[in-house]
Symmetry: C2
Subunit: 339 residues, 2 copies
DNA sequence: CTGTTAGCGCTTTCAT
DNA sequence: ATGAAAGCGCTAACAG
C-alpha cells in the first residue's frame, strides 16, 4: 500500500497529530515544522486516504447529483460544469440518472439520507412540498439547478422572461399566428419539469402585450424529444390556418419542428419562423434562432454554492437564489412574416 | 447519524461479526439468524458506511474514468453506458475530464496509484509503452474503451474495417475521387487518438482493392471539431479537381463538411457525398450516412469487464479483448457519383 | 506549538 | 455457527 500519515510523521520526526494539522492548514504549527512535513509529504508522494478522512470526520466527502436524462445535450453541459468545479475539490461524486418517474420519486425521497452524500445537486427536478419538508428537516445541503423550491438554494434563469423574449422577437418580425410547442405544462404523473410552464407564461404575456389573442390550439405539447416534437409540429403545420411562427421550448424540440417543416416542404424561414431555447451546441450549426442560457455555468455555479454551504460552519444558511442571464440569439430560422 | 452495524447487532441480539457476515453473504451463518438480522436491517433502514467498508477492506471502492472531452457526443454516450452499469454496483465514481495533453499525461501516469481507485476505465486514450509498464506492474485493473494497448483488457471496434466499409460504400456508388478528413494521424504532442489512423488504413485498403490510386492531397487533417473540419473541407472543395465524396472520421467532422458544402453552395448528395463515423444522435436528424458503432454499449461493457476483474480472487487475469460490431447506415448524404 | 490517544464503522482473524 | 477483539488511516480533543 501507499504511504500513510504515520510514515510521514515518523520520517519527519513529528507526531502524527502535527501532520494532520499541516494537512488541514491548522495555524497551530510553526512554519519550520510545517515546511519539514511538507517536504516529507512531497518526498513520499503521500496522499491522504479519502476513506479514512471520511470515516473520521463522519462525513461522506461526496456530492450527489440527481439529473434527468444525462444524454440530453443541455444536461450534459450542466454536468460538465459540475464536473469542472468538483474535480479537485476533494469531494467524490455520485450520479443518479433519472429516466422515469419511479426513479425520480425514489431519488428525491432519499436526498436527505446522509449515507450517500454530504450535499446534493438537483438538476431540472422540482421537489414537491412533501419532498421538501424532509430535506429541510434533515439540513442536508441541497442546491437546485434549473429548478426552484421554497426554502432551497437555487441557480436558474428567468424562464418567463425567456418565453417573453422569444415570443416578442417573433412579434417584432410581424408574426401574429404564433404557436408554442413544449413539454406537458403539468403532469403529476410525469416529471413536473417547470420550464415549459414558465416559458408559456412569458409567451402569453408577450401576446397579451401586443394585443394578440391567445389561441388555445396554438399551444401543443408532448413528451420531450425531437421525434415527438416532429409529430406535433407536423399536425400544427398541416392545419388550414397554420402558424407562421413556432416557439419551441427547447432546441431539441425546435429540431423536430425543422424536421416537420422539411417533411411538409414548408420553407424556413420564408414560410415559417422557428425559435428554440437553450442554445445547445448544434443550434449554431443549424442556424437556429434561440434563447441562450448559460448551461455549463449553471452547473459550475451550483457547485460553488454547494461547496460554500458545505464549507460553512453554520448549520443553517439562508437559501440563496441566483439568476443567470439569458439572451436572444438571432440566426437564420426566423424572418419577417410574409403574410 | 444513521444506524450502524452495532445498532443492528444489538437489536438483533447477535454479535456484530455476524451482521457483517450477513452483509457479505458469508455461508457461515444459520438461515435463522440471517433472517433475523435481515429483518432488523430492513427495520432500521440500515445501510453500510461506504467509508468504513473501504477503510477496513483497504480498498477505495471507487472506479475512476479517464476520458477526453466529456462533452463530445460520442464520449457522452460512452459515459452514460458506464454510469448505467456502475450505479448500484456499490462503487463510487471519479471522473477525469482530459482536455489537454498535460492532463492526459498526468492522468495516465497516475492511473496505477491506488489512492484514487480500485480500477480505472480509460476512454479513447492510448497509453504509451512507458505508461503501460507501471500499470502492469501495479496490477491495477484497467479497461480500455475505444483504445488498445499491449497487455491491457479492452473493448473496441474494428476501425480499419470501419474505414474500409465507409470507403467501399463510396466506391460502390461510383466515386473515385474520395477524400478522407480526420484528426492528425499521429501527433505525439497531441493526444495520440488512434482511430483516425486505423480508419485511414481501411480507407487505403478499399482504394487499393478497387485499384484507385491514393492521392496524398486527398487526405486532410486538423484538430477534432466542427469548425476545424469546416475549414479543411472548404479548402478541399475549393480545389480545381475537388473530391466527389468525403469520408469524415467522425460525425462531428462530417457536420463541418456539410457546413462547408453549404458555404460553397455544393449540393449534397448531388455534387458531393459525405459519410461520417459514430452515428451520434444528430446524425439521424441530418440524414447523415455513417458507420454506426455501439457507443453506449462500449461503456456498459467496459464496466462489466472491469467489475469482473475487481470481483475476481486472482491477482492476475489474462487481458480480454472485445470487439463490438459496427455497421454501415445509409441515409441521404451519399448518392451515386454524377460525373 | 506539539505528541498522544480515543474513536469513526466495518472486516476479519481468533477463540469458543 | 457465533462473539470478541484488533486494526484499517485519519481527525480532534487533551495534555503538556
Amino acid at each position: 500500500m501507499s504511504a500513510t500519515i504515520r510514515d510521514v510523521a515518523r520520517k519527519a520526526g513529528v507526531g502524527l497529530g502535527t501532520v494532520s494539522r499541516v494537512l488541514n492548514d491548522s495555524p497551530l504549527v510553526s512554519s519550520a515544522t510545517r515546511q519539514r512535513v511538507l517536504n516529507v509529504i512531497a518526498e513520499l508522494n503521500y496522499m491522504p486516504s479519502h476513506a479514512a478522512r471520511s470515516l473520521s470526520l463522519g462525513k461522506t466527502l461526496t456530492v450527489a447529483t440527481i439529473a434527468p436524462f444525462f444524454t440530453r445535450p443541455s444536461v450534459v453541459e450542466r454536468l460538465c460544469g459540475i464536473e469542472a468545479n468538483l474535480t479537485g475539490s476533494g469531494y467524490h461524486q455520485i450520479f443518479f440518472n433519472v429516466e422515469n418517474v419511479e426513479r425520480r420519486n425514489e431519488c428525491l425521497r432519499d436526498v436527505s439520507r446522509r449515507e450517500y452524500a454530504d450535499g446534493v445537486l438537483i438538476i431540472s427536478l422540482t421537489p414537491h412540498a412533501d419532498e421538501i419538508a424532509p430535506i429541510l428537516k434533515s439540513h442536508m445541503p441541497v442546491v437546485l439547478i434549473d429548478a426552484e423550491a421554497s426554502g432551497l438554494t437555487d441557480v436558474r434563469v428567468d424562464n418567463p422572461y425567456g418565453g417573453y423574449l422569444a415570443t416578442q422577437h417573433l412579434i417584432d418580425l410581424g408574426h401574429q399566428n404564433i404557436a408554442y410547442l413544449s413539454d406537458p405544462l403539468q403532469d403529476p404523473l410525469y416529471f413536473d419539469f417547470t420550464s415549459s410552464r414558465d416559458r408559456y407564461q412569458g409567451y402569453c404575456k408577450a401576446l397579451n402585450d401586443a394585443d394578440i389573442p391567445i389561441r388555445p390550439d396554438n399551444h401543443v405539447w408532448g413528451l420531450h424529444g425531437r421525434y415527438e416534437a416532429r409529430c406535433l409540429a407536423r399536425n400544427l403545420l398541416s392545419r388550414y390556418d397554420r402558424p407562421t411562427a413556432i416557439f419551441a421550448a427547447s432546441d431539441t424540440q425546435a429540431m423536430g419542428v425543422l424536421e416537420a417543416a422539411r417533411d411538409l416542404s414548408v420553407r424556413v424561414p420564408d414560410e415559417l419562423s422557428v425559435i428554440g431555447f437553450d442554445d445547445i451546441d448544434v443550434a449554431e450549426y443549424l442556424g437556429l434562432t434561440t434563447i441562450r442560457q448559460p448551461l455549463f455555468e449553471s452547473g459550475a455555479r451550483g457547485v460553488e454554492l454547494l461547496l460554500e454551504i458545505l464549507g460553512s460552519e453554520e448549520s443553517y444558511l439562508p437559501p440563496k437564489h441566483e439568476m443567470l442571464p439569458i439572451e436572444l440569439v438571432v440566426r437564420s430560422t426566423t424572418a419577417p412574416c410574409q403574410e
